[in-house]
């Protein structure tokens, strides 16, 4: 009789275990349990999906070697739960998957106890915050250097000097064409600096007429002008303790330049209509798409202001100069728009990539982002095809090299790259050779090899 009861009990426990495993495997949050030594004892389906590690590989491993979160070494929640120092803990962290992707997750941890109340391990659940986090970053603009997608050596060189620039309090001038990510770098600099807890205030100097810009930057007091019904703080006041980002600095009038120079020199300013001087503790990061020194030589920009702004210069490359980043950026934008538009686009057709790899991108990364967004709007399937691209890109004759009967894929790509570079440089061979970093004679040999002479001659007639 006793044996039968015991067997029934055992059966009940097994059914309960199967039920709980079934339930845990059907929820969207990742859940795992560990023993007292932090070795994984259970790993549910969602945990497999979020971490990219199969349960059979994870079980038996240390949890920190599977999750690789930023708090594993310092401030691990599950460890604190097991030690009994804290209970029911929650935190937002990032985990690093085997495929090098950083995933933001929200984790909750608590200890596991046996029937006698003795701690026998811990349980942690985690929720993938990729979608929420990418939207939050877009709204709040809390970008770090990890949000700058690049494997290009020019960008990596900038990364090397970013910490030193961030630690110093010197003014920074960022030079780069439209859409090259000047504000993203400015935000990354701010978020690396000791001012990161204070505001980051971006101002587009080119977007406002001069009279308005002055009141926008320095604020005004009641009665300063007819409509000034009450005091209004300017951007410098709002940025106190933090960073002000002055984009399109070259569009400042000479009068506003003088006021800005005073802020830089004396660290003080007066709001419009006020006699009181306000002390300012703000770091200035300015940006321009033009050559500021050239404007100084043309007397359109004050040289003393230029030298104050240009203490440290960051020169951002065009997207054409960091073409090796295009596949990475495409992947990033596909992921971003999948989250944002709730779509499930899995692939980008090779022909699309071929077009993107040879296109000139006058609008740089922003233009690439717009192209992918356009494709997302047009694409109803799982793959972005040429027909989903904007018409002008579809018309880009990526078949041109096919017409030239080049079969070797490497040569075909080389031909396309040369042809596009020639077009970008108005068929000027010297400029093209310079852009492609090859000798003129090498370019000339390749032009003949790929039968591009005809195209060049025709262009002269257009």
């Amino acid at each position: 009789m006793n044996t039968e009861v015991a067997l029934q009990e055992e059966r009940k426990i097994k059914i309960a275990e199967t039920h709980s495993t079934f339930i845990l495997n059907s929820i969207a949050d990742g859940v795992f349990t560990v023993d007292e030594n932090l070795k994984i004892t259970f790993f549910n389906k969602a945990a497999e999906q979020i971490t990219g590690t199969a349960a059979d590989k994870a079980i038996g491993q240390y949890c920190f070697e599977v999750l690789r979160s930023n708090i594993c070494e310092n401030g691990c929640l599950i460890r604190e739960s097991i030690s009994g120092s804290k209970t029911n803990l929650t935190k937002q962290v990032t985990i690093l998957r085997n495929d090098q992707k950083l995933i933001p997750v929200k984790i909750s941890a608590s200890s596991l106890k046996d029937e006698n109340g003795k701690i026998i391990g811990g349980v942690e659940s985690f929720r993938d915050l990729s979608t929420i986090e990418s939207l939050r970053k877009e709204i709040e603009g809390k970008y770090t250097f990890e949000d700058i997608i690049s494997k290009n050596h020019k960008i990596l060189d900038i990364f090397s000097i970013l910490p030193n620039i961030a630690e110093s309090d010197s003014a920074v001038l960022i030079e780069g064409p439209s859409g090259s990510g000047k504000e993203l770098f400015a935000r990354a600099l701010h978020n690396l600096s000791f001012r990161k807890e204070k505001p980051f205030i971006p101002v587009n100097c080119g977007a406002l007429p001069d009279a308005l810009l002055e009141s926008e930057l320095f604020g005004y007091v009641k009665g300063a002008f007819t409509d000034a019904k009450k005091d209004k703080p300017g951007k410098f006041k709002l940025a106190e303790g933090g960073t002000i980002f002055l984009d399109e600095i070259d569009s400042l009038s000479l009068a506003t330049q003088v006021k800005l120079l005073r802020v830089l020199q004396e660290k003080e300013f007066e709001p419009l209509g006020s006699t009181a001087t306000i002390k300012s503790n703000v770091r200035i990061i300015s940006a321009t798409k033009n050559n500021l020194l050239k404007l100084v030589n043309e007397d359109k920009f004050r040289d003393d202001l230029y030298f104050r702004l240009d203490v440290v210069k960051l020169k951002l490359p065009t997207l054409a100069e960091r073409r090796d980043d295009i596949p990475l950026l495409v992947e990033h934008f596909v992921r971003k728009f999948n989250h944002k538009m709730d779509k499930n686009i899995m692939r980008v057709d090779d022909a699309v990539m071929e077009i993107l790899m040879v296109y000139g991108f006058p609008g740089n990364v922003r233009e690439l982002e717009n192209i992918i967004e356009h494709a997302f709007v047009m694409c109803r399937d799982e793959e972005i095809l040429v027909e989903h691209l904007p018409v002008e890109l579809q018309q880009l004759k990526y078949y041109e090299c096919k017409k030239r009967k080049i079969e070797n894929p490497l040569q075909k790509s080389e031909c396309k790259i040369i042809l596009e570079a020639l077009k970008r440089n108005d068929w000027n061979k010297e400029k093209t050779a310079e852009e492609l970093e090859m000798h003129r004679s090498t370019l000339w040999r390749k032009i003949k090899k790929y039968n591009l002479l005809e195209e060049i001659n025709a262009s002269a007639l257009r």
């Binding site: 070697e65 085997n98 090098q100 250097f145 050596h153 090397s160 910490p163 630690e167």
Partner: protein
């Protein structure tokens, strides 16, 4: 001489190179381990940590989790990286030296 850097966490290889605080630095001459020490890099600034790691001039870094930025930068600076390796740091180092010995022996025979 070969200089090897291994990020260490509780005797094991740190789960992430960018968040590691302790680093085992080993110097190997021929087939012998001639020096081994542990240093701390406590900066919270990960780019700063990367720069400091590069300044250590390692020939090889053996680590577990490696981010894109770290991987690319180290590659550019000609630092060999054996990543996504976990286990006891000293045992992994011993294994590496042992394999190196065998490699050297094979080279000599050839």
């Amino acid at each position: 001489m070969e200089k090897i850097v291994i990020p260490v966490f509780e005797n094991r290889i740190s789960p992430r190179l960018d968040y590691a605080e302790s680093f085992l630095i080993a110097e190997i001459e021929g087939r012998k381990l001639i020096n081994k020490e542990t240093i701390k890099l406590l900066t919270k600034n990960r780019l700063q940590k990367l720069n400091t790691l590069i300044e250590l001039k390692p020939d090889l870094i053996i680590c577990d989790g490696l981010t894109d930025v770290y991987g690319e930068k180290l590659k550019k600076k000609n630092v060999r990286v054996l990543s996504w390796i976990h286990g006891n740091a000293n045992e992994i180092l011993d294994k590496y030296i042992y394999r190196r010995k065998i490699k050297n022996k094979l080279k000599k025979r050839l």
